[in-house]
Every structure is written in C-alpha cells, then in structure tokens.
Symmetry: C2
Subunit: 218 residues, 2 copies
C-alpha cells in the first residue's frame, strides 16, 4: 500500500462530511467562515473587534481550534459570543469530523454566522474543507511581503484575505501594496481587506462584506 491512496481516502471522507455540514448549515441559514492563518496573525483579535459591531451577539458563534489551551474560547466568550473549543492535542489542522461533532455543542437557533478559527498554521489547514461557505486567510503585515508566494496553497484555495496589523507596516518595512499584489498573483479572485484592530481600520468594510455575503447566501 502506498501513502497516496491512504491520504486520498482520508481526504475523500473529510470532503463527504464537509459537504454534509454545508447542507446542514444551509438548512439552518447559517453562513460559515473558515479562518486560516499563522500563530499570532490576529485571528482571535479580529473576531473580538468584529463582534463589537454586532448588535445581537446571538447571531454569531465560534468554533475555536488550537493545539493546546482554551484561551481563545475564553476570549470569545468575554466578547459576548458563544464558543466551543477543539484542542487537537498535537494535530496541525481541524478536520470536518471534529467540526461536525462540535456543532452539537452550540445553540444554533438564531445564529447567522459561524466562524471556525483553525489551528495556527498556514500550510496544513489549507487541504481540509470544513463545510465553510467562505475561506478567509488572516495574515499580519509583520509576517512579510513574500508569504503568499511561499505558501501558495492556502491563498489559492481561499476566497478572501484579511491583512491585519497594518498599523505596524511602517515599523516592519513592509509594503502593503506588494503584499496585496503577491496574494493576487497567486489568486486574482481574492477579496482583500486591510485592517488594524488597534486603529479600528477596515473592520467596517469587512462587516459590510460579511452582511452582503449573508444576504446573497440567504
């Protein structure tokens, strides 16, 4: 037995479960986002800031993925939004079966937006469909301009890229236009957002995009 059939059996099973999740969420009119980014790219901070703009926190729910700790679940709950935590205990990505199991732990009545914050890793999560409607790459300017070129798979399979911490650009000698263009050279269809939770930049635009996406989805 070679490694490839084993891998594709695993992926096939994952994709089946992901498809079923997508159907289930569609029936409940829940729009799902899968957030992928490196450790410290600012995924949780972005959610905390975004949630301030929601009048009704009950329309949001979060599945948190981490190798260890439930720090992020606690942070999201402090922001007034329900969250469940998956601790992967070493695994480098979430899979659809884990997400499916976690859905039962959430009170989904009235929820419109389900955010899945994947494990901090720009490589492995890219291969796993979690049943999301949109896939969001979160990348901080502090990571440097060339990261889309170095980790193309994540950008190729994404729908949107949120560039975070743009207030740091001048301190880290990163040209945001170059970073943007590198992302678009990998995937010209990406929706791009420039944000800073510190200066509250770009969060409104992201919110409008989410509401608009929900409108079209419904």
């Amino acid at each position: 037995m070679t490694k490839i059939p084993l891998k594709s059996r695993v992926m096939q099973k994952n994709d089946e479960i992901a498809g079923a999740i997508r159907e289930k969420l569609k029936a409940q009119r829940i729009f799902c986002l899968n957030m992928i980014g490196s450790p410290g790219s600012g995924k949780t901070s972005l959610l905390e800031t975004l949630f301030k703009l929601f009048d009704r926190k009950g329309t949001c729910a979060v599945i948190e993925g981490d190798v260890k700790t439930d720090n992020d679940r606690q942070r999201i709950e402090k922001a007034g939004v329900q969250a469940v935590q998956i601790e992967t205990d070493g695994a480098c990505h979430l899979n659809a079966a884990q997400v499916d199991k976690m859905l039962t732990g959430l009170a989904l009545d009235g929820v419109k937006y389900l955010f899945i914050e994947n494990v901090g890793n720009l490589i492995c999560p890219a291969a796993y469909d979690l049943g999301e409607n949109k896939r969001m790459i979160v990348i901080s300017v502090a990571e440097g301009e060339d990261k889309p070129l170095k980790y193309p798979s994540a950008f190729m399979r994404a729908d949107m890229v949120v560039i975070t911490k743009i207030d740091l650009a001048e301190y880290v000698d990163v040209d945001i236009e170059t970073l943007k263009n590198n992302a678009l050279s990998i995937n010209p269809k990406l929706d791009l957002f420039l944000t800073s939770v510190k200066t509250n930049t770009g969060i409104d635009s992201l919110m409008i995009f989410l509401k608009d996406s929900y409108g079209r989805y419904e």
Copy 2:
C-alpha cells in the same frame, strides 16, 4: 492496519537517518542548528544579521526549507554564505532524508556551523529530528505572549528560543517577560535570547552562545 504503526515506522526511519547525519557531521566537526518558527517569525533575517558577525563566511552553510520559492536561499547567498534550497512543494516540514540528500550539494570543507531553516510552521517540524545538535525556536513578539502555551510541543523539544522583533513590543502590547515565562513554564531548560535585527539587539549574545556551543562540541 492502523495509522499509528505507519506513522511510527516513518518516524523510526527518520530518526535513523537523523542519527547518521549527526555522526557524519560530528566526524567533520560541523555543528548543526535546526531553526523552527512560524512564517515571518524572522528566521532568515536573523541569519542575515548573524552572518555579519562572522569574519569568515566560509565557516557557515545553510539549508533552506520552504513550501515554495528559493527567495531565502538567494537572501543567504547575498549575505555571502553558501546555501541550498529544499522546496517541499506542499509538505509542512523538512525530514532527515531531505537534509541528508542536500548535504552532498554543499561544500562542507571548512564549515563549522550548519543552519537548517525549517519550513515556516510551529507545529509539524517539531516531530522531525534532522540530525541537529541544537534546536532553536524563533518567535517574534508580534505573535503574542501565549504561543508557547498553545504550541507546547515545539518548545518542549527545543534547546533554545530566540525571541525576535523585540523593538515591536511596545506597538503590539506584548509583555516580553510574560512571553519568556510562558516558554520556560513549558521547558525550564531553554536558553533564551531577546533580539531585534532592526536595533541589532541581542545578536552579540547569540553569537557568543553559538561560539561557546561550538567550543564544547569540538
């Protein structure tokens, strides 16, 4: 067949090759460091800055690992040091067989320090011995204080941690002491270095440590 025996056969084979690399390098008096960190943690910049302190660039060599591009090999060569690139084409870590193969592409005569810059990922590379003498975690302050707690395996299996971009600490609201203490809570034996390539902080201390490590190794 379950997944566990397959995985452990792969790991066993990797460890055997890593052991052979360590013997081979020891015979040539080459000290090897395996650098592990997230995308944009500053691994290549750290090497570029460190190499300025070497009078004889020929005493250093680098094996670069990336999912895609040979940007980093080019950067290292511009710094006057020989380098070879492994493009993993999707794989999330380097393995010992790849390193072993790359050793034949380097002119090792006169080399004392071999740096392996692993793929940008704080999770998967932690499991793979590459035949190194010391394993170095590179983490930027911009990644946040809690990362050692969230990605404990990498810190548990490391010998040293280089905290980079400390000049950014005030802009990202990160307390360096907390970050340090979180790393030490996972592994109290870690040698810790606080650095900034922008202000040239901590690079001298790191250099002294490397020379001292080499002295003991020889």
